[in-house]
């Protein structure tokens, strides 16, 4: 279909990018063709503007501080160097906090998956007496929650401050994810489960050996949903952890940028005016984003399908 000839002809090449101008045997009107070109051009601009902040961060990460401070860095690195990377990676606290993020993400995701899967599986059984009550118990928390202060007091009372449990337990069940899994299990073919029951498997056996192995796609989606949200979270750690060796790397970054914002009145009183260099911040941001960006092309479709699955039953 695509010969060298069409590639060389700019008009035909454009048609390949923007799509055919004849659909169903009807040629577009002139004004609609103009609209389609304008629309495509506008979308190119929108895509560029969306990407710009990322490109700017990358450019800053490889630039020298002098060029950033004189406002000469936008898309292309100026004063190219990679010494900022070795500076950030040379900070033992950065590694410690990065390791904490990995640990918190893994543990929190494991706990969340265990609770969400068992809960969703039980709730997917329509014959279960009290099912509506338990669903209501979960859904109500979407619309009304205890709020910051009672939660803070609870975590303090339980003695979980400055422990990993304050990070991995309080957000273990996302009701949205629960509903996604529940609707997936509800559509699971019942004859498979019935056959397994006749073969002598009890509920646990059916869940572990029949249902879960056949639910890999939804499980992958849920793991990704949870892992990304735990990887990105900072506020619970900021609230419940006081010792820097326990911080996740997001709080490490927050403390770098807080030099500029002084959002924290206590830090402000202490006269914490130390400006962290922009390129150090940019490198740190890049290193936090890196794992997500590098798996993003592969995980994006799971996220999209998860969102759609969740919207079905609502």
């Amino acid at each position: 279909m695509v010969t060298n000839n069409t590639i060389l002809d700019p008009r035909k090449r454009a048609a390949r990018i923007f799509g055919p101008s004849v659909v169903g045997g009807i040629r577009d009107s002139r004004s609609y063709t103009a609209f389609r070109w304008l629309n495509a051009a506008l979308l190119v601009v929108i895509c560029f503007l969306t990407l710009y902040p990322f490109l700017n961060i990358v450019a800053q990460a490889f630039s020298s501080e002098a060029f950033i401070n004189s406002g000469q860095v936008n898309l292309v690195p100026r004063g190219f160097n990679i010494s900022t990377f070795s500076y950030v990676l040379g900070d033992p606290m950065f590694w410690r906090n990065y390791g904490n993020t990995v640990l918190y993400t893994v543990v929190a995701t494991a706990i969340a998956m265990f609770l969400t899967t068992t809960f969703a599986y039980a709730l997917s059984k329509h014959h279960l007496k009290g099912r509506t009550f338990f669903i209501g118990l979960a859904v109500f928390t979407m619309f009304f929650n205890g709020g910051l202060i009672p939660n803070y007091i609870l975590i303090s009372t339980l003695g979980m401050k400055n422990t990993i449990w304050a990070i991995v337990l309080p957000n273990a069940i996302s009701v949205f994810n629960l509903l996604v899994m529940k609707s997936f299990f509800e559509n699971f073919p019942t004859d498979l489960e019935e056959a397994a029951a006749i073969d002598g498997l009890n509920t646990y056996g059916i869940l572990a050996r029949v249902v879960l192995p056949l639910s890999k796609a939804v499980i992958a989606t849920m793991v990704l949903f949870y892992a990304v949200s735990f990887w990105n979270s900072w506020f619970t750690a900021f609230l419940y952890l006081d010792r820097s060796e326990l911080y996740p790397v997001t709080v490490y970054l927050r403390n770098l940028i807080a030099g500029a914002t002084a959002a924290d009145p206590s830090a402000q009183q202490a006269g914490e005016a130390t400006q962290v260099a922009s390129n150090v911040k940019a490198v740190t941001m890049l290193l936090i984003m890196a794992p997500i960006i590098s798996v993003y092309p592969f995980i994006q479709k799971y996220f999209v399908s998860g969102v759609m699955l969740g919207s079905v039953k609502q």
Binding site: I17, F18, G19, I26, N39, A40, L42, L43, I46, T50, N56, I57, I68, S70, G71, N74, F114, L115, T116, F119, Y121, A122, K125, L128, F134, L137, A138, T141, F143, F144, G146, G147, L148, I149, P150, Y152, I153, L154, L169, I173, A196, A197, I198, D199, G200, N202, T203, Y204, W231, N232, F235, L253, T261, A263, K281, I288, I292, Y296, V307, M308
Partner: protein, 333 residues
């Protein structure tokens, strides 16, 4: 173990997981009403055990804090009972009603919430319609991937990006420089905060917000377009009479959700972005109660404010749902 391997055990295995398979279930049918709970427990006890941990979780980490709001009416002493020590009635409620700062942050919350709703809510619809007009599937896929990307970023990254872009020598000021406008210290001028906040919301949420609309668009029956064309409708009228009605249920559900979370402005983002110079526009209920509660340890006072905010949120979502049920017949539940 696969299903076939375990088939050997059929004869000896108890059959309990199936609702209708239990023989005792059938025999006792006449006395159903009296002992249904006991019977369903006997039949499904394994399913109930699966519920134990999640329900414990919900009770401890969701419902206990809800009950903990009682300290809005009781004096709480750090180290004392988490439900407070003595009743003080409406003391803390009166305190915040007479607190001018509270009304300032209340107004800021409403303004930021309203701006987000009015400006950010319609944009995913427009973007979805624009993407839908693309005939090249590859271009569409790339544009979607790019527009979803900011959604996956931590709010700390978003705040860092915003601060870099708006800094004295950041990209926005570089651009102003090029067109000959003097640079603006954005993060020191409270009149700019709302623009910056809404702008960052647009960047982070609009692309991701198109997913459900694009899904709805793909379910519209092509025959409707054909019929409209035969009736002489041009592109615009097809959009108006076929496309928009096709995504209306999605629009309404998302509008209800947005109205319900109207008061929950991006607290974490504001906490990361603001500074005392920006308080006149940036300080919202959540950030105020965070400072009052966590930094100044006035727990009961902050809890009273938090309870007030949560109740408004609940009222908003219930009434939005009720109104849409009455008027257009679409509702969340």
């Amino acid at each position: 173990m696969s299903i076939k391997e375990s088939a050997v055990d059929v004869a000896t295995a108890p059959v309990e997981a199936l609702p209708d398979a239990s023989p005792s279930d059938r025999r006792r049918r006449p006395r159903r009403a009296r002992s249904t709970w006991r019977r369903s427990f006997a039949r499904d006890w394994r399913l109930y055990t699966l519920l134990v941990l999640p329900v414990v979780f919900l009770v401890v980490f969701r419902y206990v804090p809800m009950a903990g709001n009682v300290i809005a009416f009781r004096r709480y002493r750090p180290g004392g009972s988490m439900f407070g020590d003595e009743w003080v009635g409406m003391h803390y409620i009166e305190l915040f009603i007479n607190d001018p700062t509270f009304w300032r942050v209340f107004a800021n919350t409403l303004i930021l919430g309203a701006l987000s709703l009015v400006i950010v809510f319609p944009l995913p619809i427009i973007l979805a319609l624009m993407l839908n007009e693309l005939r090249s599937q590859r271009f569409k896929r790339v544009a979607q991937s790019i527009s979803y990307l900011p959604h996956f970023m931590s709010v700390v990254i978003v705040a860092g990006v915003v601060l870099q872009l708006t800094s004295a020598r950041g990209s926005i000021n570089q651009l102003l420089d090029v067109v000959g406008i003097e640079s603006v210290p954005f993060m020191q001028l409270s009149e700019w905060f709302r623009t910056i906040y809404v702008g960052s919301e647009i960047w982070q949420t609009v692309g991701w917000g198109t997913i459900l609309y694009l899904a709805a668009l793909s379910t519209i029956d092509p025959q409707l377009y054909e019929a409209a064309r035969i009736d002489g409708a041009g592109r615009w009228r097809q959009t108006w009479h076929v496309t928009l009605p096709g995504i209306r249920p999605t629009m309404i559900v998302l509008l209800i959700l947005n109205i319900g979370t109207f008061m929950a402005v991006g607290f974490e983002k504001i906490l990361l972005l603001y500074n005392p110079l920006l308080y006149p526009t940036a300080d919202v209920i959540a950030t105020y109660l965070f400072r009052v509660g966590i930094f100044s340890s006035q727990f009961s006072y902050a809890a009273a404010i938090g309870l007030f905010e949560a109740l408004i949120g609940l009222t908003l979502i219930l009434s939005a749902n009720w109104i849409s049920k009455k008027t257009v017949g679409t509702s969340l539940w």
